[in-house]
């Protein structure tokens, strides 16, 4: 009987295209030393951590993008975090890791438009070759890596505990981690997890 009922189900099958796999387990853990990079910013300049910010006390590296609903929900919070912490020597560097062939909304041109519209005061760079995010082990957007001035990873994970509503946030994971790092103590938690959009990898 069950089979009969199931046979009545209608399926909508769409044309499918395969994507290559990527092993996120090879990324950084807290305590690892992160790689520096040289990636193109929306203003055309090349951005690197130590090269662009030689005097920084640390770096807030955020893998994010244009299209993901979670990334969009955090956009204003990322702007605010940069406003708070860049003057203290902890600049935000936003990296778009997605392949625009898969998500046209995440193209370099669209990044420029988005950064312009939202008045990003921080670099929004493009991991065009898709070789930086696998080293970090970023798997989704948004995905935060907090580094100290030696590029040692102090915190990995979410910005806070409430993607949907900034005013209902209870745990400021990233801000707490920055404050801990400033005071020379280990962030607790040093790693958090959140739902996000899987990074779209070139086939």
């Amino acid at each position: 009987m069950k089979k009969l009922l199931i046979a009545l189900m209608l399926l909508s099958v769409t044309a499918l295209q395969s994507q290559s796999d990527y092993d996120y387990k090879t990324g950084y853990s807290v305590g690892d030393k992160a790689t520096d990079f040289e990636l193109k910013n929306v203003d055309g300049s090349m951005i690197s951590l130590k090269g662009t910010y030689p005097d920084a006390n640390g770096y807030i590296v955020i893998f994010t993008c244009n299209h993901c609903p979670y990334a969009k929900m955090y956009e204003d919070r990322i702007i605010e975090i940069n406003e708070t912490y860049a003057p203290q020597g902890y600049p935000v560097i936003a990296i778009n890791p997605n392949d625009p062939d898969i998500v046209p909304e995440d193209s370099y041109e669209k990044m420029i438009k988005r950064a312009d519209k939202k008045n990003f005061e921080f670099p929004y760079v493009f991991d065009e070759k898709q070789d930086i995010f696998p080293e970090y082990g970023a798997l989704k957007t948004p995905h935060v890596f907090l580094l100290d001035s030696d590029l040692t990873v102090h915190y990995i994970g979410a910005i806070d505990d409430n993607p949907r509503n900034a005013s209902d946030v209870d745990q400021q994971y990233l801000k707490n981690a920055v404050e801990s790092m400033k005071s020379g103590v280990s962030p607790d938690p040093a790693e958090t997890k959140a739902v996000g959009c899987r990074i779209k990898v070139k086939s």
Binding site: M1, K2, K3, L5, I6, A7, M9, L10, L11, S12, V13, T14, L16, Q17, S18, Q19, D21, Y24, K25, P69, V103, L139, K140, G157, A158, D161, N162, P163, R164, N165, D168, D170, Q171, Y173, P189, T192, K193, A194, V195, G196, C197, R198, I199
Partner: protein
């Protein structure tokens, strides 16, 4: 619906009995097919209690959302698997936002005639449940959990074909008979 078993059994009664049994099957089985468009909204505590429980048949939980393109892309494979493998149960765990329940989720379920159970996990902080589903989960979707009284398989990736999904499920379930 009421059952009248006392009368002499005639053809009409047999039909009635079958209907009654079918009704009981639907009520008693947690895996009843639902009307396309139906979904249940639960917090993680309820999800854990109700769904990550003792089961007779393996259950495949697919974590998805209407805003997640690769999830939508692989969904036909899950529908096909539920059709071809009635010995496995399937549950679609949606991570859609409350503001999209009526505008996106329900229309999607109706449009695609989805009759396998749909549960919306309504939690603001995914950090509280991600590790409990599987410690290796980084939080991206699609992700798929195979459950048979415990987590017997978890994959944080999309399936590129029906064959890939079927092979993964067959292998995972076979090694945990």
């Amino acid at each position: 619906m009421t059952c009248h078993f006392r009368r002499i059994i005639q053809l009409g009664d047999i039909v009635m009995i079958i209907r009654c049994l079918f009704f009981l099957f639907l009520v008693n089985s947690g895996w009843a097919q639902t009307q396309p468009g139906d979904f249940e909204v639960v917090d993680f505590q309820t999800f854990e209690k109700k769904y990550l429980a003792e089961v007779d048949q393996p259950v495949v939980y697919n974590f998805w959302a209407t805003w997640c393109k690769p999830c939508v892309k692989e969904m036909p494979y899950f529908l096909e698997a539920s059709e071809k493998h009635p010995e496995w149960n399937f549950v679609l765990v949606s991570l859609d936002f409350p503001m999209h329940f009526e505008s996106k989720l329900r229309p999607f379920l109706i449009k695609n005639q989805i009759e396998i159970p749909v549960v919306v996990l309504d939690e603001t902080d995914a950090n509280v449940y991600i590790d409990k589903i599987d410690p290796s989960w980084q939080g991206s979707i699609p992700a798929t959990l195979v459950w048979k009284n415990k987590n017997i398989g978890f994959i944080e990736d999309e399936f590129d074909s029906y064959g890939e999904l079927e092979e993964y499920l067959t292998q995972t379930i076979k090694t945990h008979q």
